[in-house]
């Protein structure tokens, strides 16, 4: 059933300090609202129990892409369209650009934001696997100040995050070390465009001849959170890409992920596809 719209409030503070003050004054009352590409869907379906939202749309401190010598810093309100069109992101972080291009339609890409994709905390989100592979950090701000925890570890369980009720996600920064890494991203959905992932895989490896000197992989839609598969990485790090290593990595991955049956796919299919994507990633490294 559709929601009763007059029951919903959406405040639009004009500055970050105003927004943070509201979060402190009434803790837990105001939930952030960014592009709305997920929350408005829940609203229409009558599945949005929370009623009071704080629009971050006018917070200029959450906008823009800044490029420094060591980092690219993306404001939480950076849209998928801004990501996929940004020349530095295209050159150094192709996995993030691919994720942005494969998220929803162009209409969704114009509204959906990177910060929203993180804080909405869907295990099927497409940009978080890329952010994990690039070893991103996030900036959480409150009246108490700012902190920069690593993004890895931010999600602790289904829709659970290490964020206090008075904090807002302001930015995501990626270290500018990705260029020499061999990178791979593949999203598997029902159709080529505008599908929610059945499995999404991002991987990057730093090669030393035929040896994997360092590696990071992350997957969406195979666990309660978007998962950095550290055990699987451990099964590959320091090894050469051989059929035995690929088989061992696939075996470890099967124990590390926990896919489920749901409306979009089955646990069995997801496990097989996740292993196949890992295999494809590793096989390409061997070439």
């Amino acid at each position: 059933m559709r929601a009763y719209i007059p029951a919903y409030d959406l405040r639009v503070p004009g500055s970050l300090s105003e927004a943070l003050a509201l979060l402190v004054r009434e803790p837990g009352i105001w939930q952030p609202f960014a592009g709305g590409t997920d929350l408005m869907v829940l609203l229409e379906a009558g599945k949005l129990p929370h009623k009071r939202f704080l629009s971050v749309a006018k917070l200029d401190d959450l906008r823009g892409i800044e490029v420094t010598a060591d980092f690219v810093i993306l404001g939480a309100l950076t849209t998928y369209t801004e990501i996929k069109n940004h020349p530095v992101l295209q050159a150094e972080y192709p996995l993030l650009c691919t994720a942005a291009r494969e998220t929803g339609s162009i209409a969704t890409q114009n509204r959906g934001t990177l910060g929203g994709n993180i804080v909405n905390a869907s295990p099927a989100a497409d940009s978080p696997p890329a952010l994990l592979v690039y070893d991103g950090e996030i900036e959480l701000v409150s009246v108490r100040g700012a902190r920069w925890p690593p993004y890895h570890g931010f999600h602790t369980g289904y829709k659970k995050m290490q964020i206090a009720s008075d904090e807002l996600l302001r930015a995501i920064r990626l270290p500018r070390r990705a260029k020499p890494w061999r990178q791979y991203y593949r999203k598997v959905g029902t159709r080529k465009a505008q599908a929610i992932s059945k499995v999404c895989f991002a991987g990057a490896a730093l090669m030393d001849g035929g040896t994997i000197r360092d590696v990071r992989i992350a997957l969406g839609s195979v666990a309660p959170i978007v998962l950095r598969a550290v055990k699987t990485e451990g099964a590959m790090r320091g090894r050469s890409v051989t059929p035995a290593v690929i088989a061992a990595a696939e075996e470890t991955l099967a124990r590390e992920i926990a896919p489920i049956d749901d409306i979009r796919s089955t646990a069995r299919y997801r496990l097989r596809v996740a292993q196949n994507l890992l295999n494809e990633f590793l096989s390409q490294l061997a070439k």
Binding site: Y4, P6, Y8, R11, V41, S55, G104, S105, I106, K192
Partner: protein, 167 residues
């Protein structure tokens, strides 16, 4: 009944004209356009951002108006299907849809035209892949996709310039 918030004043420019409405903050832009401004060319299909029937241009960018809260239209420039033709003079995209039979039942057509106009503003000479990408967010339940695709190609060719095969 749940407690209610107050309606708020929203001022935006719609198809070049300044309009003021009172709406609940979380009202859908789609409903404000149709119910308050009587711009019923914008259609509701799925109501969940999948089908593109409610597509409009918000500050020049295509969005699904079912996913935009009314309050975010405040101060914005909105173009709906009613603002695509100039009086009786159809846009090249609309002409091409007519010539190619790019409409069947017509429910998806306003969104398809908006998506095509937005595409041609981004890429005046799109590749086949860019046309498919530009239309990927619009579903046609009559499944007349080939004629819609052909209409976009026709609209590009009406400018007399050649489209690249790829980029």
């Amino acid at each position: 009944m749940s407690e209610s918030v107050s309606r708020i004043g929203i001022a935006c420019r719609v198809n070049g004209e300044l309009r003021r409405v009172q709406a609940f903050p979380m009202a859908r832009l789609l409903d404000v356009l149709r119910e308050e401004l009587h711009l019923t060319g914008t259609k509701e299909g799925c109501g969940e951002g999948e089908c593109g029937a409610c597509a409009v241009l918000l500050n020049g960018a295509i969005v699904n108006s079912c996913l935009v809260p009314a309050i975010e239209a405040d101060g914005a420039e909105i173009r709906t299907i009613e603002g695509i033709a100039r009086g009786e003079q159809l846009n090249a995209v609309q002409e091409a849809f007519l010539e190619c039979g790019g409409a069947q039942c017509g429910i998806c057509t306003p969104g398809m035209v908006i998506a095509s106009v937005a595409l041609l503003e981004r890429h005046p000479h799109p590749t086949d892949a860019e046309i498919r990408e530009g239309l990927a967010g619009n579903l046609c339940r009559c499944t007349g996709y080939q004629k819609i695709f052909a209409a976009v190609v026709r609209a590009c060719e009406s400018t007399g310039e050649k489209r690249p095969a790829s980029r």
